[in-house]
């Protein structure tokens, strides 16, 4: 019961912050609202007793969104949001598709018979189980992810770095 209440509360916070991301006109507020939306998602994980993933989500998303805040201040036309510009397009189409997508997912959530609910796994067991999973069955997946991360780092740096001598 308590678990449902906390999950619901953090879920409402995540949704509210996600809506604030697109409604506010200040860019830094937008980035930090996204940060708190992801942090609420991390808190939902903690409420669902998935401790490792919750803590990981909190850490990673805070750093990522703070870096996003810097990029927004660098590239956006109106970072403080006091200019009152309207930065949206295809309003009707996007609202309709957002509503339809959300409703479709809600319908699936409510009308599918999900089966019996399983008992919880203690957090210490979860960390150990996840470690064994990574090291035994999913080792190739994790190594591929590592190589992908390295490739993405090199690609992003190569795009972003200034060429010497051509400017």
């Amino acid at each position: 019961m308590l678990q449902t209440v906390f999950t619901g509360l953090f879920g409402l916070a995540a949704i509210w912050f996600a809506v604030v991301v697109f409604r506010t006109s200040s860019m830094v507020r937008s980035a930090l609202a996204l940060l708190f939306s992801q942090a609420a998602i991390g808190a939902m994980f903690l409420a669902m007793q998935t401790e490792f993933l919750g803590v990981l989500q909190l850490t990673m998303m805070a750093t990522e969104m703070a870096i996003m805040a810097i990029f927004m201040v660098m590239y956006m036309m109106d970072p403080g949001g006091l200019g009152g510009m309207d930065m949206t397009h295809q309003k009707r189409a996007s609202q309709v598709s957002g509503a339809l997508g959300g409703l479709a997912a809600l319908a699936v959530a409510f009308f599918v018979g999900w089966g019996p609910i399983a008992a919880e796994v203690r957090p210490g067991e979860q960390v150990r189980g996840l470690g064994l999973e990574i090291m035994e069955r999913s080792m190739l997946i994790f190594e591929t992810a590592g190589v992908t991360i390295l490739t993405a780092m090199i690609a992003a740096t190569a795009i972003a770095i200034k060429r010497r001598g051509k400017e």
């Binding site: 879920g11 949704i15 996600a18 990673m60 956006m76 959300g102 999900w114 796994v121 991360i149 690609a155």
Partner: protein, 102 residues
Amino acid sequence: MTTLIVALAVGAILFGVGLYGALSQTNLVMIMMGVEVILGGALVNLVAFWRFLHPEAYSGQMFVLIVMTVMALDMAVGFGVATGRFRARGSIEMEEARDLKG
């Protein structure tokens, strides 16, 4: 069962909000933020499925790790592309990026 339905509902609404944001914004960074919200909703669903239906199969948590990695990577490469576009044109508005010819 209620907690599972609540979590899935939250994931569904986050998906809808993220889809609205990704389609309605003109700025590349804001579109990326919409995609982040969509992936966040997917993460909520994944964790709810893992915890309530199959907590013995840790491949669920593995999936969550991979989705988090994808979120970080897509932001990194997206910002690289934004930097390149900003250097070439002076803005990253997607409305101005319609034509192929420079």
